[in-house]
Symmetry: C2
Subunit: 123 residues, 2 copies
DNA sequence: ATTTGACTTAGAGCGCACTCCAAGGGCGAC
DNA sequence: GTCGCCCTTGGAGTGCGCTCTAAGTCAAAT
């Protein structure tokens, strides 16, 4: 699959795919006879997971670390799991925080709905 | 209250407080006789709400818009409410997305826990 | 044979949200 | 008075994560 197809299917831009490869997030994408990238199904699965890590707020540097561990082989499985577990905690507390913020937002909107429009809550 | 106290209590840096004032997020903070900022209790409440909007991912530009509407007076209450309602939708879908990502993360971690360590799921 | 268009690389540029700096002012303590 | 410290301002710098440019290669279409 060409870089454009991979971009389409992963939802990332071709620019970003090259960037990810350059910084070591994606390793050894195949090339065809004229030097163009050829993405395999496996690359797409990896990209999908990377994208999920990004969307949940993992910094690029930490994703690089994870990618590096993965390249190092199976004996790094424990460390990879621990990295993911730490990240999971981040995601959990993010969800908790957002839920709390959502409740405040609900309250604020409700205050606007009540015609009272009391200045104290509508700062 | 001095800028340092306001920084402490709001969790923002003094630099950020000045920046927020400069871009119009905070309006007309009082000054004392020597030109130093003096924050009032009301400013702190407003900062707290601003911080909540930021933490939930509202861009600065949109917060400025909200601050501007607020300054324009009560006849903008509807528009402010609509802005908050749109933002609430963003927050809701963010929570939904994160919850889904969390489930994938759980699954991945579980795969690591099972000694099998099957390559297909541990990309 | 030449044009078109997608690809390659190294490296520069951008938008966001801060974060810091330089130059100067004001005030209390010694 | 002068030292130290915190404040002021305008403007420059930073870190992150892309995003784009320039210059060149290659292959298919005309």
């Amino acid at each position: 699959m060409t870089i454009q197809e991979a971009a389409q299917r992963s939802g990332l831009s071709a620019h970003t795919l090259r960037y990810y490869e350059r910084i070591g997030l994606i390793h050894s994408v195949g090339r065809n006879s004229s030097g163009h990238r050829e993405y395999a199904e496996q690359d797409l699965q990896w990209l999908e997971f990377l994208t999920r890590l990004r969307m949940t707020g993992m910094p690029i540097a930490e994703m690089c670390r994870y990618a590096e561990l993965r390249r190092m082989g199976e004996h790094t499985a424990d460390e990879r799991r621990e990295l993911l577990e730490r990240h999971r905690e981040h995601v959990r507390s993010r969800i908790a925080q957002l839920s709390q913020d959502l409740a405040v937002l609900d309250y604020k909107i409700e205050s606007y709905r009540e015609q009272g429009c009391s200045p104290r809550t509508l700062l």
